[in-house]
């Protein structure tokens, strides 16, 4: 899902960078002392997740994990994903420095959108919470694919074709991410409910 350097035109890169910077600023503003460690851990998890290749048929896909990062961090997903992507660009040559802004937007914006939609559902009954978590992981990748298509639209490829290709190729990832996100939420609900958003000790 990372876009390489030299593919996108200047204006797209610039607007991506501006939007990512705005998101990161909001994220940093909302990130309070108590959540810094959590953001760091999830940033690390996101950084590593791209290395986990899941063999699927003759090819392999890798996890993105923007759904769970967004669900647990909210707006702080922007700085967390930005840092992780910067590290991936420097150490693994995934994506690139000039495309950092666009790539951050591709993965962090769906994360925040998912947070807004699904975080309030996590404290409902287990069935609702798990469905919300699965949909969250699924949708975060789907929206990412749509943003990839949008950003490529302004260069040479056709939006619909690219978006469809990216989404179709990521279908297995979406399903896997949905399952992983649901498992994470189920686990956290049992073991460490304070990590979930909107947690209030009253529930104990």
């Amino acid at each position: 899902m990372h876009i390489s350097e030299g593919v996108l035109s200047g204006p797209v890169l610039l607007s991506g960078a501006v939007l990512a910077a705005a998101g990161t600023a909001i994220g940093l503003k909302k990130l309070d002392y108590d959540h810094i460690a959590k953001a760091g851990m999830l940033s690390g998890a996101f950084f590593i997740a791209s290395l986990i290749h899941v063999p699927l048929g003759p090819t392999s896909v890798h996890l993105i994990m923007n759904g769970i990062v967004g669900l647990l961090l909210g707006w702080a997903a922007f700085p967390a994903i930005l840092v992780a992507l910067a590290m991936q660009a420097v150490f693994f040559q995934f994506g690139g420095i000039t495309t950092l802004g666009v790539n951050t937007l591709i993965m962090a914006l769906p994360a925040v959108v998912c947070y807004c939609f699904f975080a309030p559902l996590l404290h409902r009954s287990p069935a609702v919470a798990l469905t919300a978590a699965f949909t969250c992981g699924f949708m975060a990748v789907l929206m990412g694919g749509i943003i990839v298509g949008l950003s490529l639209m302004f260069t040479e490829e056709k939006f619909f074709e690219v978006a469809m290709a990216v989404v179709a190729a990521h279908l297995p990832v979406m399903i896997i991410e949905g399952i992983v996100t649901a498992l994470c939420v189920a686990f956290l609900k049992k073991v460490q409910p304070s990590m979930l958003p909107g947690y209030s000790p009253k529930e104990l």
Binding site: G6, V7, G40, A84, Q88
Partner: protein
């Protein structure tokens, strides 16, 4: 119930087939080398999957496109050196994947000289047609030998060097190493410390 399960399995299988064509990596590796007057290009994703149907474009030093084509199923592409210049081989594998490999003038110069020697390909058939006549006159003369040896050496070298080139191509692939992973994680935790410092509660 069983029918439903079966159709679900079919759907999953179909999805897998659909997605088989697209390898999802973040980066594509391009490696190009020169053999004679031909440039060979090999394209792979970092996990070793070949890039098929990737678009190759060859640019000159002024970024003008000289030729283009598509890689085959093995992720390979080859073309005759179009021009003695600093070339760039660009691979576009779709969905925002792009890689390039520079070929300097020096890399191409042996190839540039070969056509300069009135091109071995063209000179090769010529002695053959003359050979019967020459044999009748003096079988021991063997005057076209140097040219023949030249070509034989070049061929043998290309053959012997092919595995070396392959090895170089493999070495050029930047695989993810443990040090990279640990280094990245270290930076992230370090940044957490920085953030914690600036957000600390006074007092």
């Amino acid at each position: 119930m069983n029918v439903r399960l079966l159709s679900l399995l079919c759907l999953v299988a179909a999805l897998m087939l659909l997605t088989a064509g697209a390898a999802l990596a973040h980066r594509v590796n391009v490696f190009a080398w020169v053999e004679g007057d031909t440039v060979f290009v090999e394209c792979k994703y970092p996990d070793g999957t070949k890039v098929h149907e990737g678009v190759i474009r060859v640019l000159d030093s002024a970024s003008k496109e000289l030729l283009s084509g598509k890689t085959n199923d093995k992720g390979e592409f080859s073309f005759k050196v179009p021009k003695l210049d600093d070339l760039t081989v660009v691979l576009e594998a779709g969905m925002g994947h792009r890689g390039d490999w520079p070929l300097s003038r020096q890399d191409l110069s042996p190839a540039g000289e070969a056509p300069g020697q009135t091109s071995p390909a063209a000179s090769q058939p010529a002695p053959k047609t003359e050979a019967p006549a020459a044999k009748e006159l003096s079988p021991a003369a063997a005057s076209p030998l140097p040219a023949g040896i030249d070509q034989a050496i070049e061929k043998a070298l290309d053959k012997k060097l092919a595995p070396v080139m392959k090895m170089l191509a493999e070495m050029h692939e930047q695989k993810v190493r443990l040090t990279d992973v640990l280094g990245g994680l270290g930076y992230i935790f370090g940044l957490v410390g920085v953030a914690a410092y600036f957000k600390r509660k006074p007092g």
